[in-house]
């Protein structure tokens, strides 16, 4: 087939080589990304860090308008909402009373036990800049980053429940992988029975409970909190409540409001002290060691 578009036959092979080279480069990039994932993701975070905050001037008004439209739609059923809110308020008052009593009781008990709460658990609050949530990836971008001392792996909450973990930190932005993302796995404890399990996201709004030892001891409605196993997360953060999913699988209804992620708290986790070494049963006295080694050497 004679190419009559470019009108120059000699430029075709060159072009073909260039295209082939470009495709090869892309696959090479893919390989590099696959082999050295952390470094590639860091590079990606830097690019996103450069690009997305520069959209900020446009992101904000559009988001605002979209939210206004959403609010406007909700005017349609404002009466029902009002009724609903009144009912909820009534319930909340009851809960508030209960909470105050519990708080006092808790304070007394803590005082009795001389428990010292972890003072290192402070937080930084960020605004959600962008949301690349899709059915394939569930993550949000915050407007705080390494500049604010963020590190990979820190836990993020919306003030009530756990939202996700920081994964990818740029200078001015950080990506938070939500608990619903299919790559998210966190250790949790299910409260009344105290069993440990893994909460694994599967891109649905209700992540799945996995590796549960005695499933019979867990009922829908049980509280799920982070367990802090493996030093991944601070322990004791509320995650949500157990719900029975389709097919009898245990899932978690998350406490955080995933529909409206606007401000997120990133909890500063200070590196915990770790116990290393397998632990000798009888510690050897230090002065007895040197002669022994000499004997073995001879």
């Amino acid at each position: 087939m004679h190419d009559h578009r470019t009108g120059s036959n000699y430029s075709r092979p060159v072009r073909r080589v260039l295209v082939g080279g470009l495709i090869l480069i892309f696959f090479a990039i893919f390989l590099v990304w696959r082999i050295d994932s952390p470094r590639a993701e860091r590079a990606r975070a830097q690019i996103v860090d450069r690009v997305v905050p520069s959209f900020d001037w446009a992101l904000r008004p559009v988001t605002r308008v979209a939210n206004m439209v959403e609010d406007f739609q909700s005017y349609a059923r404002i009466y029902e909402q009002n009724q609903e809110l009144r009912r909820e308020l009534q319930q909340m008052k009851a809960w508030k009373e209960a909470a105050l009593q519990l708080e006092q009781e808790n304070a007394k008990l803590l005082d009795l036990n001389r428990v010292r709460l972890d003072p290192a658990l402070t937080h930084v609050t960020g605004v959600v800049l962008a949301d690349s949530g899709s059915p394939f990836r569930q993550s949000v971008l915050l407007n705080i980053g390494a500049r604010d001392g963020l590190r990979d792996g820190w836990a993020t909450t919306d003030g009530l429940g756990l939202v996700g973990r920081v994964s990818g930190v740029g200078n001015n932005s950080a990506r938070v992988v939500l608990l619903t993302d299919s790559a998210s796995r966190i250790p949790v404890t299910i409260q009344p029975s105290g069993q440990g399990a893994i909460l694994s996201g599967d891109n649905s709004s209700l992540p799945v409970i996995e590796f549960l030892e005695v499933a019979d001891a867990v009922r829908p409605g049980d509280r799920v909190i982070s367990s802090g196993d493996g030093g991944v997360f601070p322990a004791g953060l509320l995650v949500g409540h157990i719900a029975l999913g389709a097919g009898g699988r245990l899932r978690v209804r998350l406490a955080a409001d995933y529909e409206r992620l606007e401000f997120l708290r990133v909890l500063r986790a200070i590196e915990e002290e770790r116990v290393t070494g397998s632990g000798d049963v009888v510690p050897r006295p230090p002065e007895a060691q040197t002669p022994q080694v000499d004997e073995v050497g001879e």
């Binding site: 892309f26 997305v52 971008l141 709004s205 992620l261």
Partner: protein, 179 residues
């Protein structure tokens, strides 16, 4: 003085980049246009296909490559894979563009469907081979279906809204070159 043909060509190239930029931008917004569970169409691929089958000179390969790699990076997908496979698909269509210039729209649709199916299968297969976390295959097929359904809309928009149409037989540009 820039001649009008070159100017028009570059304007359309800019327009292509702007459309893809808008698509990426829309996806980054913390607002959901589609349901959480139902993926939206892959608009970047659709526009590229529709344009490359109409006026290949409006979507030169460096521009396509740039757009695709940007999409990969910003949508946190496997970097380079979508761009590589996408470029293969686009160049495949481009090299045969003059073959189905005269064919009806249905034939074009079938061809695009086939190429997109291969693209989806290829992506899934490479993800599997390299043991990368990937969404369930059913969801990919769902997205493929939605993407295909939206193809006629994208074509109509490009054709009647933006004026990107196949050159008629014997049509010449302002300088008298055949298109």
């Amino acid at each position: 003085m820039i001649n009008p043909v070159t100017l028009q060509r570059w304007l359309y190239r800019l327009l292509f980049v702007a459309i893809c930029g808008a698509v990426i931008f829309g996806r980054l917004l913390p607002v959901h246009f589609t349901h959480r569970q139902i993926p939206g169409p892959d608009l970047v691929m659709l526009f590229t296909f529709a344009w490359v089958l109409r006026r290949p000179d409006y979507v030169p390969f460096p521009v396509v490559a740039l757009v695709l790699i940007a999409t990969d990076i910003l949508f946190s997908r496997a970097v380079g894979l979508g761009a590589g496979l996408g470029l293969v698909a686009v160049e495949f269509l481009r090299s045969r563009e003059s073959l189905w210039r005269d064919l009806p729209v249905t034939a074009e649709f079938a061809m695009v469907a086939l190429v997109l199916l291969m693209y989806t299968l290829g992506t899934a297969a490479i993800h599997g081979i390299f043991v990368v976390d990937q969404p369930p295959f059913g969801k990919r097929l769902l997205q493929l279906t939605i993407t295909l359904i939206s193809y006629p809309l994208v074509v109509a928009l490009s054709r009647y809204g933006l004026g990107v149409s196949k050159p008629a037989p014997g049509e010449v540009d302002a300088l008298g070159h055949r298109l």
